[in-house]
Amino acid sequence: MNGNVRRRVSVRVISTLILTAVLALLPPILYHDLIYGKFFLEDAAKDIANQYLNGTRWIHLGAIAAIWLVNLVFFIVNQKKSDSGKQLISRTRLQNFLNVLLIVCSVAAMIGYRYALSSDVWIGLLFGTADNIKLIVWMPYWVVAACGLFLWRFCMCAAPATNCHVKWLLAKWLDAPMTRAERTR
């Protein structure tokens, strides 16, 4: 049984780690050119764009890493305690609260960084006023929130500790064979 515990834990930890790496590194690369292209061609605007994208990339990475870390701590605690009932309910509530807090903080950190970079009104000065341009330029905010949200739900619903319920269907389908004894016996 120890072997099966190790196997299930390894699968969950590794899948979460891979997803974290993907969510932390890939989105900033993917949206970089898109956002950079929306800034005016003036040197000042491009300079701000570079700093903005560079800063938000690190904030994004840090935020995703922090969310992963918080969930990893809860994973370890859950795995170690392997409890249920009221104890698990209160810990799950705390985990949810901390995840929401981190997501809000990461968006706030990006907004704060933008103000730290330049407290001027950016719309119309550094990039166009169209709604779709605003949506793209502010993409780091909602992408970090979306990535954080997805990672949080993945950690809790697809790859939780083995004392917690796997809710996502695909994860359930993958996990089910690991709790099935061989029928040849």
């Binding site: 049984m1 120890n2 072997g3 099966n4 515990v5 299930r8 795995q79 170690k80 305690k81 392997s82 409890d83 249920s84 009932g85 009221k86 104890q87 698990l88 309910i89 799950t92 083995t162 004392n163 917690c164 319920h165 809710k167 690991m178 709790t179 099935r180 004894a181 061989e182 029928r183 016996r185």
Partner: protein, 530 residues
């Protein structure tokens, strides 16, 4: 193949048998016999006590509980630990030898005094007082061996020639090349056991050697005796005069010393203990002194609690069955084992030096002669694994199943075994789709453990609570933890969280999920030395 038969005689014999059943269920006997050893274990009951609630009925219920649970206890859930898994053993056969008595039978009815000659009648009156002659036999001989001795010798002769009878059926499923080990267990101080044990053992050995019916001579080789010396007291207001236990024992021992019985058997063990008052838990859960007198209800049998001395005797029985008899240079020797006393050399007949708590049984090495030396590391672990199992199955998981809460916060193993459903407790308790049979087994074992705990083994079992230190009963503590979902407690060196972690990842076959649940839990309750 090997066959082990315990002939349990009288109330004490029944309770030794209860301890043997528990040790066999804990896997102790299987491990002691060695890897891949195949054997049959039978218990044969000899008693007069036919009243419900007696030791005999309790033993029969215990055996039924173990045997019903065996299908759930025997699944190999993990190939990696298959060799070191808990090999629970049920009882392969059970039969009773009972003289033809009814609720009102007395020795007068059996002797039929009217048919005796004058000389016989005089002798009968000289040997048996009015009190003896009119005592109702339905509750046994009540510490009066003179009554039992009259019954057993005659009854043996009547039954021996019956092919399907009590004695001949012992040989029914074995050949002359198979190993048969027969242990007779009873007290030296009571009534039924004190009279039946030497009489029946001697008659069995001699009848086997004689071989009137079939080739039974080889079966006389391995016959042994377990004789219990006084180890308990009962109240003054009972039919049993426990004040006579000592004198009865001295007389019996004198008889053993002078008769040939000890030289005719292969092995004999005498087990005694400090005499302590016996108490039994009533329906309300409070401990009451054991008393049995004429004021007892007609349907109230002699039901005494299990005591540590019986467990010691059962350990000796297992060792005999497994061929683990103390010997030096291949010669059997007399061993004096002071289990509750520490002394420089525990195997010599020297005065004990210092009393020690009865919290382990490793004062002498337990092995099976070297073939698998080390398979049995500690007798106490076999007892504690039973306790862990009882607590986890009957208290922790049962309480978890009983409380109302969202399914996602229930122990994950429930989802693996039963999938989401409304009335989980009904399912859990069910004998068909749940673990009902294993629960009955756990309850039976826990009753045995609790009685041992109450009568001197608390240092090991830690079951009863203590008002002085504000410690709750262990079942209550575990149930309280389960109600919170907490795993912050240890079950005798195994953290509860370790058990639940393994159980949450247990592998089950959907066709027999509950069997896997029970067997997995058993494996989790085995203390594996790292």
């Amino acid at each position: 193949m090997k066959k082990f038969v315990l002939v349990a005689i009288g109330g004490t014999g029944m309770r030794v048998a209860q301890s043997l059943v528990a040790l066999a269920a804990s896997g102790f006997l299987s491990d002691l016999c060695g890897k891949d050893a195949e054997y049959l274990l039978e218990i044969r009951l000899v008693d007069l006590d036919i009243v419900a609630g007696s030791d005999k009925i309790e033993l029969e219920e215990m055996i039924r509980a173990v045997n019903d649970a065996i299908p759930q206890l025997s699944v190999i859930v993990d190939e990696d630990t298959a060799d070191s898994r808990w090999k629970a053993k049920g009882i392969d056969g059970m039969m009773s030898l009972q003289p033809p008595i009814d609720d009102r039978s007395t020795i007068n009815d059996l002797v039929r005094e009217g048919y005796l000659s004058e000389a016989e009648s005089l002798a009968y009156h000289a040997l048996f007082a009015e009190d003896d002659r009119t005592m109702v036999l339905r509750r046994g001989c009540k510490g009066r061996p003179r009554i039992g001795s009259l019954l057993w010798a005659e009854h043996f002769d009547l039954d021996w020639s019956n092919r399907s009878g009590f004695w001949q059926s012992i040989f029914g499923d074995i050949g002359v090349d198979d190993e048969l080990r027969v242990m007779f267990a009873g007290s030296v101080f009571g009534g039924t056991g004190a009279s039946g044990t030497p009489t029946l053992a001697q008659k069995f050995v001699r009848a086997c050697r004689k071989g009137d019916i079939g080739n039974t001579a080889p079966f006389a080789r391995h016959v042994a005796l377990t004789l219990m010396l006084p180890y308990f007291d009962v109240g003054q207001d009972t039919d049993v005069d426990s004040g006579l236990f000592s004198i009865n024992s001295k007389m019996a021992l004198k008889y053993y010393e002078t008769s040939e019985i000890l030289s005719e058997v292969e092995f004999a063990q005498f087990v005694g203990d400090d005499r302590r008052q016996m108490e039994k838990k009533d329906e309300q859960g409070s401990w009451k002194r054991v008393r049995l007198d004429r004021a007892s209800r007609a349907d109230e049998g002699q039901n005494d609690p299990s005591m540590p001395a019986e467990l010691m005797a059962a350990i000796g029985v297992c060792r005999y069955f497994a061929g683990d008899i103390p010997k030096a240079d291949n010669v059997y020797r007399k061993v004096y084992v002071p289990l509750k006393w520490s002394s420089a050399n525990s195997e010599r007949s020297i005065a004990p030096e210092e009393a020690v708590p009865l919290d382990r049984f490793d004062y002498f090495p337990v092995s099976n002669g070297g073939a698998d030396a080390g398979a049995v590391r500690s007798v106490s672990d076999y007892i504690l694994r039973l306790e862990r199992f009882c607590l986890m199955l009957g208290s922790y998981y049962r309480t978890s199943a009983a409380i109302r809460m969202p399914w996602k916060y229930r122990p994950e193993v429930f989802r693996t075994v039963w999938t989401k459903r409304k009335e989980l407790l009904d399912m859990y308790d069910s004998r068909i789709d749940g673990v009902g049979a294993a629960l009955a087994f756990a309850e039976s074992m826990f009753r045995w453990l609790e009685e041992l705990d109450h009568h001197g083994m608390h240092d090991l079992l830690l079951i009863e609570g203590d008002d002085k230190h504000n410690t709750p009963h262990i079942q209550k503590a575990v149930e309280d933890a389960a109600r919170e979902g907490s795993t912050r407690f240890d079950l005798f060196s195994i953290p509860c969280s370790q058990i639940t972690t393994k159980m949450n990842s247990t592998r089950v076959d959907p066709r027999g999920a509950t069997k896997y649940f029970v067997s997995s839990l058993m494996e989790c309750c085995v203390l594996r030395v790292q």
